[in-house]
């Protein structure tokens, strides 16, 4: 099918891949629980077909789109990206998807659109973590990008990984992947995309604004208030060797630096 053919359009990091079982067995997806193995254990209850994405706000063509309609006519590509979690571990993942820019072109942002706001599904019937009163998270999960970040060719909407349809625990059926930002920006199981004039509220920023900024660009110079961001454990590692590698500015995707020209990245963390 289409997902399998995506391998023909391939680009990205030339580093050894994190094995499939780790990419799909070790996840942060609090809608299914805060433990790393909770998503793999619990996400089978998620219904991903049919899937509707509401496109709203400053666009010429708002509406409720079946996922297939959003993807229609676009070529799926394989992109091998590093994923740097804000918790100081990282993976290398072969995603399959389409550039977000291609989808945005379909719905045509108006001249007023400055930001893209994303919302995840938050259905307590399908997602046990949403029922838990202890996460402190104000569901649904929300994320956002500046329009120029969203239009950058590296920004991907993923529907698969490792040549297969996206597993539920990885944010099926439709998720964002922004490889130069900490993993929490790459919002999963998206049901709503809204183009806005002002900066949208984002989940981790709402929860702890001193620790998680709107930009959340990977930056070894700016520590998390509670831990260092100067290096990361590349997974999988082993019991006696945590496999520390130095963290790179923008996670090594230096081509995005021009997006932030003139900005103080210590203040806009």
């Amino acid at each position: 099918d289409q997902v399998a053919k995506a391998k023909e359009v391939k680009s990205g990091a030339d580093e050894s891949l994190t094995p499939y079982q780790d990419v799909t067995g070790y996840n942060n997806f609090y809608e299914f629980g805060t433990g790393k193995t909770d998503p793999a254990d619990n996400a089978h209850t998620l219904q991903t077909d049919p899937w509707t994405v509401t496109v709203a706000g400053e666009v010429e063509k708002p509406g409720d789109y079946p996922l297939e309609t959003l993807l229609e006519g676009l070529t799926l590509e394989e992109r091998i990206y590093r994923l740097r979690c804000v918790e100081a571990w990282s993976m290398v993942i072969p995603w399959i998807g389409v550039p977000l820019a291609a989808i945005l072109k379909k719905v045509q942002p108006t001249s007023k659109a400055k930001y893209v706001a994303f919302t995840s599904l938050a259905d307590p019937e399908q997602m046990p973590g949403v029922k838990s009163p202890f996460t402190g998270i104000d569901w649904p999960y929300r994320e956002g990008l500046r329009l120029d970040e969203a239009m950058h060719p590296l920004t991907l909407m993923a529907v698969g990984l490792y040549g297969r349809t996206l597993p539920n625990q990885n944010g099926a059926p439709f998720r964002l992947v922004v490889p130069w930002k900490y993993g929490f920006k790459s919002i999963k199981s998206i049901v709503r995309i809204e183009l806005t004039e002002s900066e949208p509220a984002t989940t981790w920023n709402m929860l702890a604004p001193g620790e998680y900024g709107f930009y959340a660009n990977v930056n070894p110079e700016v520590d998390h208030p509670r831990w260092s961001q100067s290096r990361e454990r590349r997974l999988p590692n082993s019991f006696f060797d945590p496999n520390w590698v130095p963290t790179r500015m923008f996670n090594g995707y230096e081509q995005v630096a021009s997006l932030y020209k003139g900005m103080d990245l210590k203040r806009n963390y």
Partner: protein, 194 residues
């Protein structure tokens, strides 16, 4: 105090989580970031054992099973063992005793300092945990062993601070601790009014 034949069971009970954890580590069951998980779980068990240790006297009184009091020492000593391993595993497996990173973590991360202080508070308790020391010290022993309360409070603060979010476990730890402190406070109050 008359000891019961089953009181020795506390020792293997305290050892069981460690044995299980080592087995899991040896057989590669701890996932793609095993040292991190190992360190976290040791800390979790240290806190659970410390709270269990503190629950033993109220449990002995409320359940009228006086023999349970013996487990205070057993679980207290095990808790100290788990905290020590937690620190050693963190410094060895995750930081490799790298002086730069060790210095940075100890100097800049308040939750690490809080955890370290909690561990240090337990040293004199472990050192005076023998029956002989207890006899020798008399009333001073009970006074010294009140250090367990700052230790466990620091432990719960450390645990809550390490999390990114998700305060369910912390809430349970804090609730148990609060009940223990209230129970203890009521007891002391009653004793001083006698």
């Amino acid at each position: 105090m008359k000891t019961r034949y089953w009181t020795w069971l506390g020792w293997p009970l305290g050892a069981a989580p460690l044995a299980w954890l080592v087995l899991e580590a040896a057989s590669g069951q701890l996932g793609p970031d095993p040292a991190e998980v190992f360190v976290e779980r040791l800390g979790w068990w240290a806190l659970v054992l410390l709270l269990t240790c503190l629950t033993m006297r109220p449990a002995a009184q409320l359940l009228r099973v006086p023999g349970l009091v013996v487990w205070r020492r057993t679980f207290g000593v095990w808790a100290f063992g788990y905290v020590s391993l937690h620190f050693l595993a963190w410094a060895t497996l995750l930081l490799g005793w790298d002086p730069n990173y060790l210095g940075e973590e100890l100097g800049k991360r308040p939750y690490i300092i809080v955890g370290l202080l909690g561990w240090l508070a337990m040293w004199p308790l472990a050192a005076t945990s023998t029956r002989k020391a207890r006899r020798r010290m008399g009333a001073r022993w009970a006074k010294l062993h009140r250090l367990v309360f700052p230790a466990v409070i620091l432990g719960v603060v450390h645990q809550s601070w390490v999390q990114k979010s998700g305060y369910g476990e912390t809430l349970i730890f804090a609730l148990v601790l609060a009940m223990l402190l209230i129970y203890r406070g009521l007891k002391d109050h009653r004793l001083s009014n006698k």
